[in-house]
């Protein structure tokens, strides 16, 4: 597999480490009233779609950036690769 890194261009997937669903960026608010339930869902519940899936990959043998890769789980087609940091900021994560 080839991941087209937004800064470095196409790189072999063996330079990367896979983590999982990109929803891991959305760490719940620990102060929320239902924080325990939200964290439970955050840690344990995942969609397992046939088709498009947004997932986190770490460029361990590269620039050490976390990426959000949009990959079709059926065809392995990768339609989008973003820096996870940019995605996190766009989702309102800051400090």
């Amino acid at each position: 597999m080839i991941i087209n890194h937004p800064l470095l261009g196409p790189r072999d997937a063996s330079e990367f480490t896979y983590l999982g669903d990109a929803s891991l960026i959305d760490r719940p608010d620990p102060e929320a009233d239902d924080a325990a339930k939200q964290f439970h869902d955050y840690v344990y519940l995942r969609d397992n779609p046939v088709g498009e899936h947004r997932e986190l990959w770490f460029h361990e043998h590269g620039d050490r950036s976390w990426l959000v890769v949009t990959r079709n789980t059926l065809t392995h087609e990768i339609t989008r690769v973003e820096l996870a940091k940019d995605v996190a900021i766009a989702r309102g994560r800051r400090r």
């Binding site: 072999d12 960026i25 996870a84 996190a88």
Partner: protein
């Protein structure tokens, strides 16, 4: 040693070069440019093996990689390689080959009796015949079947050859160097894009070498040769012969195997084969087509061959495959065999064409039977005569059969592409869903005339150039000889007795297919698995289409309705050795050594692999014969005076930035925000699920500068986790990370004399007295005249201890210098065994306790979970199950009878209870012999352990059949108040 069947002239063999080889012990001669198969045929060797199930005599069937029959063992000793296709083995002087799959001799195989039992060996016989009685399967049936069936034998010795891997990149990969591949490569090459042209053959040209058709008024093979020369002269083109592209993988990545030395007597230490990963923007599959047979009774006799193969032997190798050849065909290409052979002086006995059309031009003297069918063959070890439907018998010693051609669609299927039936050519052509960037040209795309193949290759390349935004080079308008290629599908002859084989390699007959259908195996996928059609090394290259056509007829459906199985990589077999490449034995993985490794080696260290790291396990002194002697001495000497241990392997992460303190505070469960500069603190990193991920000491070197240590095993995981937190969770924090594990060589100096030893090295402007540098102090100092040093007053052993870090280049010297300075104190180096003993004596956790299933509370570190801040893992660490009072607790254990030895992995059961899972209360994680306490001691988790000190339980070890009574004690066996480390 005559080559009686070698034609007087012609061919692409080098007659000036005579190569001697052996087959089944007999010596023969061949020429340069021969394959083993062509050389055997040149010598009149017709029978080359026995079939898989029935042990029927078999001969060479084809002239290419599709060969189902001629599987031989090559070479001797450890280099013996079974199941090598004689049609692909390039001849060299001294080649030693043997036939396979017989007992006794090839001609008088004792297992040929299987053929008489054939009624019992029909489709699915494994599943039916050997059902009962059940124990017979393992004890009798399976061993007997395995001995009788199966193909070649392994040498059972390690493969002495070396293999390698490699990575290639190109704009266009052209797979196959026949007419369409050459035409495509030429077009792309001339346009200046990066091209790789790969072909499994050792000679470029594909069917151009096997046919007599010309290109541009040159012989086809000459044109191929000229084109190869032009391509080889281009910097942007790489021509790879003996290279099979065997798999199409995601995103334009292809796997290829290059046989670099298989054609040489010796590989001379160079890689025998290279497994290439080829990255492409586009690929053009020009893999050609494979001829298939027609099923008729006794169609497996040596001498029955594919007509295209017979043509290849005559035209390319100058070998006549018989003294008198007959042709059985359903298409025009069979007639070409007749004319080509006749032109070379090989008599044609008859042409039998299943079609009711007017005959094509037949050679003089050949009988022509239109609408004819072969209903049987005769001859013991080679065909002697054939019988036709009308009862007519024709004498001949070779029958060339053509049932039509199947495009080699394999690579197009590797990502679930499904071929489509094309009635015009009675074959499957590539379907719509191609792997990324793949195009197909020429015969692989169902285009069968040479002129059209040349044009299709060029057009396909032009199309790709257009996608690249490039102009095609000027068209040099390749022209080729005309040829006829029409076909009318004909699959099998219904008349006659005897078995009609479909799949020669697996001994699958027409009857087997009908039987499978009758028994309900109606889908092609089921048929394949039940009958074994299309399995094994040739993957049914000559058999699949024939088989499913027969299934279609049996079920009264059309071929498109019946469908086809698809193909997975590899296209042809790939040796496991090539897949392993260099990753064998010691080179399976890399080795990490600390800078002090050489010093340790010289000083008697025995090493243990810890992940990739080599760590000193103990340092044997003269006279010590057992590791425990060394270990006990190291422990005693450290606790009595001073010991030195290389701890470089611990992970070290440099954390800097305005928000460094905030960041560290969030990833540790305990507070770090207020850690003063110049101090260290022990911290726990939790996973978000609330369980412990790792532990270690973090030092604050400056207001915005921390150095975190991780365990050796988790260094990479923790770094990844920190980067996740930094980039994905808190992208707004100003913090930066870099690993400094490799930068610093680090040693622990432990024992009452640790400070005295250290003071001898520390430069005079640094004060390390207990007042100036108390327990948990850290600082940047210098030693030995200005060498920058990081000093941490931390202790894993429980003694007065320091960890000293110097730049790695000094690491080897540091060990020597520490020992030199420690000489007056009797300093000892100690290894991980002594380290382990001392940490167990202190009740410190390591990987055995931090096993990914334990919480801070389990470890007795509940107080390290801050309730004044958020941190990773906080919310879920408060889950009901993780905070229950009766949960597991880490405590110490001692045997009640101190003569007994504790075992890690033992489970705790209350006395008098049965050893069952229900009664399991916990387990022993770590054990050691304590030379200080003169008893075996252990750490372990047990329910409510902290409130059960003094109680005795059974440490049950049913696996090792040893269960002993143990007392629950405090995990702090030595100096529970920690007075020593503050000294």
């Amino acid at each position: 040693m005559t080559q009686a069947f070698r034609l007087a002239k012609g061919g692409l063999v080098d007659r000036s070069q005579t190569l001697e080889f052996r087959f089944d012990g007999a010596a023969y001669n061949g020429h340069g440019g021969d394959t083993l198969a062509s050389a055997l045929l040149a010598n009149g060797v017709r029978m080359v093996g026995r079939s898989f199930k029935y042990h029927r005599p078999r001969g060479i069937f084809s002239a290419g990689s599709e060969e189902p029959n001629a599987l031989v063992e090559l070479r001797r000793g450890a280099r013996q390689e079974p199941n090598t296709r004689a049609t692909m083995a390039e001849l060299f002087g001294g080649l030693d080959a043997r036939s396979q799959n017989y007992r006794g001799s090839l001609k008088y195989d004792l297992l040929a009796v299987n053929d008489l039992f054939s009624p019992f060996l029909s489709a699915g016989f494994y599943y039916k015949t050997f059902m009962w009685p059940k124990p017979f399967w393992e004890k009798l049936y399976e061993p007997a079947i395995r001995a009788a069936a199966g193909l070649g034998r392994l040498s059972r010795e390690p493969d002495p050859d070396v293999y390698d891997k490699g990575y290639l990149h190109c704009d266009i990969l052209v797979i196959g160097a026949g007419p369409s591949g050459l035409s495509a490569a030429l077009t792309a090459g001339r346009a200046g894009v990066r091209v790789i042209l790969a072909d499994e053959d050792f000679r470029i040209g594909g069917r151009l070498n096997a046919e007599t058709l010309g290109v541009n008024d040159m012989a086809g093979s000459d044109w191929a040769d000229a084109t190869r020369a032009e391509l080889a002269s281009m910097d942007n083109v790489r021509v790879m012969t003996r290279t099979t592209v065997f798999g199409a993988y995601d995103h334009g990545v292809y796997g290829a195997i290059e046989r670099q030395t298989d054609h040489l007597p010796h590989s001379s230490g160079k890689p025998r084969q290279v497994l290439w990963r080829i990255y492409t923007r586009r690929a053009i599959v020009c893999a050609g087509a494979t001829e298939r047979s027609i099923a008729f009774p006794d169609n497996d006799r040596p001498g029955v061959m594919l007509a295209g193969g017979v043509r290849a032997y005559a035209n390319r190798f100058a070998v006549g495959t018989g003294r008198s050849v007959s042709i059985f065909t359903n298409n025009d290409t069979g007639w070409r065999t007749a004319s080509d052979l006749s032109a070379k002086g090989v008599p044609i006995a008859a042409i039998i064409d299943t079609r009711e059309i007017s005959p094509l031009a037949a050679p003089r003297g050949a009988a022509v039977v239109m609408g004819g069918r072969v209903t049987g063959t005769k001859g013991r070890h080679c065909v002697r005569s054939i019988t036709l439907a009308g009862g007519q018998t024709i004498e001949c010693d070779c029958l060339a059969v053509s049932g039509g051609w199947s495009p080699n669609v394999h690579l197009t299927c590797h990502q679930r592409g499904r071929p489509q039936w094309n009635e015009d050519i009675a074959a499957f052509t590539p379907g719509g869903d191609m792997p990324f960037g793949m195009r197909v040209a020429g015969a692989a795309n169902g285009i069968y005339s040479l002129q059209n193949c040349l044009a299709d290759g060029r057009e396909t390349a032009v199309g790709i150039l257009d996608e690249f935004g490039l102009n095609p080079p000027a068209d040099d308008a390749l022209t080729a000889d005309e040829e006829a290629a029409s076909i009318s599908a004909f699959w099998h002859v219904r008349e006659g007795k005897g078995r009609a084989f479909v799949d020669l390699q697996n001994d699958v007959t027409v009857k087997d297919i009908r039987l499978s259908h009758q028994e309900g195996f109606r889908s092609v996928e089921h048929l394949k698995r039940y009958s074994t059609l299309g399995m094994a090394t040739d993957q049914g290259r000559t058999a699949n289409v024939l088989g499913l056509a027969i299934l279609a007829q049996a079920s009264g459906k059309s071929i498109p309705e019946t469908g086809t199985t698809i193909f997975r990589p590899p296209y042809t077999p790939v040796a496991i050795g090539a897949i392993a490449g260099r990753s064998r034995g010691k080179e399976f993985r890399s080795v990490r050594k600390t800078p002090g490794h050489r010093w340790a080696e010289k000083n008697g260290a025995k090493f243990v692999e810890s992940g990739l790291w080599m760590r000193a396990q103990w340092f044997a002194r003269e006279g010590e014969t057992h590791w425990r002697q060394s270990c006990d001495r190291e422990v005693r000497q450290t606790r009595a005076s001073v010991g030195i241990c290389d701890v470089t392997t611990l992970g070290k992460i440099d954390i800097q930035g305005r928000d460094a303190a905030e960041f560290v505070n969030r990833v540790y469960s305990n507070g770090f925000a207020k850690l003063p500069v110049g101090k260290c603190r022990y911290g726990l990193v939790l996973r978000e699920d609330g369980l412990v991920m790792d532990d270690g000491t973090t030092a604050r070197l400056g207001e915005n500068h921390f150095v975190m240590t991780t365990t050796t095993a988790n260094a990479v995981t923790v770094f990844r986790h920190l980067e996740f937190c930094r980039q994905c969770l808190w992208p707004g924090l100003d913090v930066h990370l870099i690993s400094v594990t490799e930068q610093w060589a680090q040693a622990a100096i432990a024992g009452p004399n640790a400070r005295k030893l250290l003071e001898k090295l520390v430069d005079p402007d640094h004060d390390i007295s207990s007042d100036a540098f108390p327990f948990m102090a850290c600082g940047e100092i210098s030693v030995c005249g200005g060498v920058p040093t990081r000093l941490f007053r931390i202790s894993f052993s429980g003694e007065l201890a320091y960890e000293i870090a110097v730049p790695a280049r000094y690491g080897n010297s540091l060990m020597a210098v520490l020992m030199q300075a420690g000489e007056e104190f009797g300093a000892t180096p100690y290894g991980v065994e002594a380290l382990n003993v001392m940490r167990i004596e202190k009740g410190h956790a390591t990987g055995s306790e931090l096993n990914g299933q334990t919480s801070a509370r389990d470890l007795g570190l509940g107080r390290m979970m801050s309730d004044r801040k958020d941190y990773i893992g906080r919310v879920l660490s408060q889950r009901e199950h993780l905070v229950r009072e009766d949960g597991l607790k880490l405590v110490g254990f001692k045997p009640v009878d101190t003569a007994q030895e504790l075992k890690a992995g033992a489970h705790f059961i209350a006395k008098g209870k049965e050893m069952t899972t229900e009664n399991d209360e916990g387990w022993m994680t770590s054990v050691a012999w304590s030379p200080n306490l003169q008893t075996s001691i252990g750490l372990g988790f047990i329910e409510r352990g902290d409130s059960r000190i003094g109680e005795t339980v059974i440490a049950a070890d049913p696996l090792r059949e040893k269960s002993i009574e143990v007392e629950i004690v405090s995990p702090h066996f030595i100096d529970p108040e920690g007075e020593r480390l503050r000294g």
